[in-house]
């Protein structure tokens, strides 16, 4: 079997990245409803699990998942996010690709674990909230005093940044199972997956 990426593979990467991003974007729009914004890491990877698991049925070679991650990072950047999503997408995309590779792109266990890891890339979009915190904290301590600043620090602790990554991972695991179930119910019967 030829292990180099063919043009056909690259085209499928493009198609599924587009589908993934549209669904991802629709989920992100729901995040403008205030309470849902906090829940974003919990439901987003779950829903995008369906297109991703379908994508995995087409993936047979190393590099396809990494390219998808890079594209997602670039498009996040082009639509006005920072460079942080590109970095997280690169890291988690490559890691996920390695996990899929060890399962030879067949094993369901590896797919579940790999998608869990892959899901964490999107949290790069939320990380600036913590990265830009220093300047914000400095600003409010100048105008409101230290007591108030401490209150803000206690509301948004550093561990929350770690927590969103874990939430995304757990939700990704759930999404992989959901995706698999949908695949079984609809796509295998139709002969697409």
């Amino acid at each position: 079997m030829n292990n180099k990426l063919q043009t056909k593979d690259l085209i499928s990467v493009g198609i599924f990245t587009a589908i993934y991003f549209v669904i991802f974007f629709a989920c992100g729009m729901l995040g403008y409803i205030p309470i849902l914004f906090i829940l974003l890491p919990a439901y987003m990877p779950m829903i995008t699990g369906i297109p991703f698991m379908l994508f995995l049925t087409k993936v047979k070679k190393f590099g396809m998942v990494s390219i998808m991650a890079i594209l997602l990072g670039i498009i996040m950047f082009a639509t006005g996010h920072t460079w942080v999503p590109i970095a997280t997408a690169l890291i988690f995309g490559l890691l996920a690709d390695l996990v899929f590779k060890t399962g030879k792109y067949q094993s369901f266990k590896h797919s579940v674990l790999g998608y869990g890891i892959f899901s964490m890339w999107s949290m790069g979009a939320m990380l600036p909230l913590w990265i830009m915190r220093d300047s914000y904290l400095q600003y409010i301590s100048n105008s409101m005093g230290d007591e108030y600043t401490n209150a803000v620090i206690s509301i948004t602790p550093d561990w929350a940044a770690v927590a969103i990554f874990f939430t995304a991972f757990a939700s990704g695991i759930a999404g992989a199972f959901l995706g698999k179930a949908v695949l079984k119910k609809h796509f295998q019967r139709a002969g697409i997956a």
Binding site: I15, A18, V22, G80
Partner: protein, 241 residues
């Protein structure tokens, strides 16, 4: 008129045309600088670049909306935030800082995707010597966004006809079923269209061993250099602060 993320037809030659690489570079500057500085006049100067670019490429309506939104964000940040206390302050601060820092980048992103055509984008990526492994999926992706939107609208119409519309209240009663009704047909049809697209573009020689030619003329002009100098100056001002 269909909405496209990157247009397939070019803008007319009357308006200001920038090289896509200039746009990408300015986007990089705005995104990085917006998260590092905190001086309001510099932030305004930074936001002024994409805003003036919007006006220069005849996107008056969106330019006016964006300008108004940014003025509100700056006012919230500079006047309302110091004047409030307690929980309202926390809430206003969250909204205002996000808008204040994200908007220059968002406007630049909007300008980038609405004024660049897919072919121009591909041509500039080839000039930057990016790998075909990135260029091919990316051009397919941009080609595919409008298709997905079209399919989604058609499915939405069909669902409404059967009374399973988003407004029927079932979204909250059976969210999983609603998700299934929407997503499964969408995936089915887009995957099929994707296969056809793949066959069609292979037939037309995508991925052939020969270097492909491109009809788009891209290159740096006086306007590119001017914009780049302004961008770099503002970026330096940010780093000095």
């Amino acid at each position: 008129m269909q909405t496209e993320l990157l247009q397939s037809t070019g803008a007319s030659h009357k308006h200001l045309r920038l090289d896509p690489r200039t746009k990408l570079f300015i986007a990089l500057i705005t995104n990085t600088a917006a998260f590092s500085g905190n001086v309001w006049y510099l932030m305004v100067a930074l936001a002024a670049i994409p805003l003036s670019l919007l006006f220069a490429s005849n996107k008056i309506k969106s330019g006016v909306y964006c300008t108004l939104a940014y003025i509100i964000a700056v006012l919230l940040n500079e006047l309302v935030m110091p004047a409030t206390h307690g929980i309202p302050n926390l809430f206003i601060a969250m909204v205002a800082t996000t808008l204040y820092r994200m908007m220059p980048g968002l406007i630049m992103g909007y300008y980038l995707v609405t004024t660049t055509t897919v072919s121009e984008f591909v041509a500039s990526m080839e000039r930057m010597h990016l790998s075909q492994k990135i260029i091919i999926p990316m051009s397919v992706m941009f080609r595919f966004f409008p298709t997905i939107g079209e399919e989604a609208r058609a499915i939405g119409d069909a669902m409404r006809m059967r009374g399973i519309g988003l407004g029927s209240g079932r979204l909250f009663k059976k969210p999983m079923a609603m998700l299934e009704y929407r997503m499964v047909p969408l995936l089915m049809s887009t995957v099929k269209i994707g296969d056809e697209l793949s066959a069609a573009s292979l037939t037309r020689g995508l991925g052939g061993p020969v270097k492909r030619t491109n009809v788009c003329e891209i290159g740096f002009g006086v306007q590119d250099i001017a914009i780049l100098i302004i961008g770099i100056l503002i970026f330096i001002a940010f780093t000095i602060n």
